[in-house]
Amino acid sequence: MSEQPSNFIARLRAVVGDDGLFTEPQQLRLYMYDGSIDRALPMAVALPRTAEQVAGVVRLCHEEGVFLTPRGAGTGLSGGSIPLCGGVVLSTARMKAILAVDTENQTVTVQPGLVNLDLTKHVAPLGFQYVPDPSSQGACTIGGNVAENSGGPHTLTGGVTTNHVLEIELVMADGERVRIGSPAPDPPGPDFVGVTCGSEGTIAVVTQILCRIVRKTECVRTMLAAFDSCRAASEAVSAVIASGIVPTAMEMMDHTALAAIEAFSHAGYPVDAGAVLLLELEALREEVEDAAPRVVEICRANGASEVRVAQNDEEREALWKGRKKAFGAMGRIGPSYYVQDGVIPRTRLPEVLERVEEAARKVGLRVANVFHAGDGNLHPLILFDDRDPGQAKRAIAAGEEILRACVEAGGSITGEHGVGMEKRDYMVLQFPEATLAAFTAFRDACDPGHTLNPYKLLPSGLGCAEGGKRQKTMTQMQELAERNAAVGDAY
């Protein structure tokens, strides 16, 4: 840093205004967290109201070599918005306007801090919906969804965030403001929007998003099928797909999860079942009426002891309420949980679920499974007591074992929660060195000083192909971290 810390804060205040900056310790402590298990304290929190102010904050941090961590609602589950090395947190909480609704082109222009559910609520009276619906949709923001490329239960046919974003306005690491993508289809050249979605705030800060909305489907039918075991439920999932029917959602909850969810939300789930599947069909009335009895029949043929079809919206919402509040319900059966997010090819579900169970058993902990079975996206919740450091360690060890199993089955270490800081060292499990070197080179090209969201997404100490260069960067980062810490102390 080329000047006194107090000067830096004063300049930051000049960009965002008195009411746009938090520096008091009790305020800063609120920004230490996200939905994961890591913690770190920022030296200041900037809450810009405009894209110009965002650019001002980014430029200032870039010039002074101060780390900057963008933050939406902090619901992330991989530590993506934790200010790991201190520095400034840029919160988009005050940029939550819906700027334009264009029903003819089926798009909505929003600011990044808009809450996901508020977008759908806004367009619902017009007969539209925004498809990606993460379980945290009541709190998480569209900007955060872009950073993480968030999914949700309806991705099987609907796709994830990247499939519903047409154009993005960005502030690059040096403060330059640009627009990528287009309201028109397939702009010439590479798909920059696609590359930006899921970049976890490490290459740019999003200031405006053009989202695609779709008309609500004519007919939705939700059903719940109870099975003796996860294996039987998994086989039913494969059988449904093999029949040529692709439901919009196929969610699985195991016995342990069911007990907790039912105690918490009283959704009427069968607590004595080994596993249940929540299936949803969304299509033309004729198509649903044709497919629904076939799905019921397939579930029964695969051992379902009970299949319940929601008869109205109220019953449908009750079925979903339990699933959407599932993570919160875990408090009923354990003081804390560590959730993983591995993905596997759907056909490998039965064997990998057994390995999940085995991984938890090996370290003496329980595991509950609540996940997107249709696209093979597992969410094992390893239950532990966070007051016991030994248990936390064992939970993390079991988590690693589970990710290993996912990669060995041909899958991924994360389907929708992101790498963040939590899984950066597991990247080596999934990718060859050449890939990690390319990721690092891309990061270097976008943000040479690694000022934006440092120590995220990439393996922490990996040599990669350009070992020397990387090492140098790491040393610089350590120095910067120390300087950032000094700024915080001085203030």
Partner: protein, 381 residues
């Protein structure tokens, strides 16, 4: 393009080694079957060409997972044939010739773009030979995957700028039981009223194509699925046609596909992209000698003809840009090409910033297919 040597690697490692050696010495060109070669500016010559012909065949295919992994030199038709044997398909129906790698690099599509999206929506992973001699893998075999940067998407529309795609994995889907289209004919206003009415009802047509014919306009609505769904969609077409004042007839499945492929055979061919609501005004602005096929729910208009003149085409290009869209002059005689160039785009700044970032990461010496995209022309020029 002056090709000094043509190399045909038969393995991924060989491809990366050849690309490394060739790009150390000079410019390289990545070539597939060449079916879309003329749609892009030539690579900076002289080049050593790397041909994907020997990198062909299916790598992994588990029908129950609804994914397929193939080598990039595989003809798309072979992929569809293999999927068809299992009652599945890749919902991409571009110009049917050419390889999977060429399809990704050119980001081409066809009528099914309306319902199922483009290459970016179906592609879940690529393996690429890089000029640094390494083989990198981006994305993977699973349908949800947010580990690391989604550089897979960077290869869509890349025109070979970031190395040689050697393998690709796609999401696939069950083959629909039936597919047939209804043709609605009338004035442009009448068919536009029909496509708007159908869109407002959120009806899942697999394709909605508009064709300018000698005596007016025809809207093809392709219905796919089981019998009950197809019957419902045909019924809806009838109602929309009556309300809009169009005549209707059954057109089967193949006619709509044949119509969509006509532009590729013409001497002059432009592809315009606009926000979908602007499609009708683009079509209304066409000169009498300009034929057209459009995807009005998406905002794609293909304008073609035998020897179209600059006078009629310039307003189309200007209109596309004013509508916040873009245009790609895919085929033109030399004289017309000199006047029109290759692309028009509403705004270039974002790509001008991000293209060099991808290039620095993946081809820092700028030797791969140099000059073939709108951005590396700018980047190097």
């Amino acid at each position: 393009m002056n090709v000094m040597e043509r190399l045909c690697p038969s393995s991924y490692d060989e491809a990366s080694r050849m690309l490394h050696e060739a790009s150390t010495g000079g410019n390289t060109a990545i070539v597939g079957s060449g079916s879309r070669d003329a749609w892009f500016p030539p690579a900076r010559s002289p080049v050593v060409a790397l041909d994907s012909a020997a990198l062909s065949g299916i790598v992994r295919y588990t029908p129950a997972d609804l994914t397929i992994c193939v080598r990039a030199g595989t003809p798309l038709a072979d992929v569809q044939a293999a999927l068809g044997r299992e009652g599945q398909r890749l919902p991409l129906d571009p110009w049917p010739q050419g390889t999977v790698g060429g399809l990704i690099a050119s980001n081409d599509n066809g009528p099914l773009r309306t319902r199922w999206g483009g290459v970016r929506d179906a592609l879940i992973g690529v393996r690429v030979a890089l000029p640094n001699g390494e083989v990198a893998r981006f994305g993977g075999d699973v349908v949800k995957n947010v580990a690391g940067y989604d550089l897979t998407k960077g290869y869509v529309g890349s025109a070979g700028a970031f190395g040689m795609i050697v393998e690709a994995t796609f999401k696939v889907q069950p083959q629909p039981a039936r597919g047939t289209s209804t043709a609605l004919s009338g004035t442009l206003d009448a068919v536009a009223a029909a496509w708007r009415a159908l869109r407002e009802r959120a009806l899942p047509f697999a394709a909605i194509e508009v064709v300018r014919t000698e005596d007016g306009w025809t809207l093809y609505a392709l219905a796919e699925g089981d019998g009950v769904i197809v019957e419902r969609l045909i019924r809806e077409c009838g109602e929309a046609a009556r309300n809009a004042g169009c005549s209707t007839r059954e057109a089967g499945h193949d006619e709509v596909v044949e119509q969509a492929r006509k532009p590729a055979g013409a001497r002059t061919w432009l592809r315009v992209g606009v926000p979908p609501a602007q499609t009708a005004s683009v079509l209304a602005s066409l000169a009498p000698d300009q034929r057209a096929v459009a995807r009005p729910w998406v905002g794609i208009v293909e304008i073609f003809g035998e020897a179209l003149g600059e006078d009629g085409l310039m307003p189309v290009l200007r209109g596309a840009v004013e509508a916040r869209g873009h245009a790609h002059v895919r085929r033109a005689d030399d004289g017309l090409r000199r006047l029109l160039g290759w692309w028009r785009i509403e705004q270039i700044e974002g790509g001008r910033t991000m293209f060099p970032m991808l290039k620095n990461a993946l081809d820092p010496a700028r030797r791969c297919n140099a000059g073939r995209t709108i951005y590396d022309q700018l980047d190097e020029g």
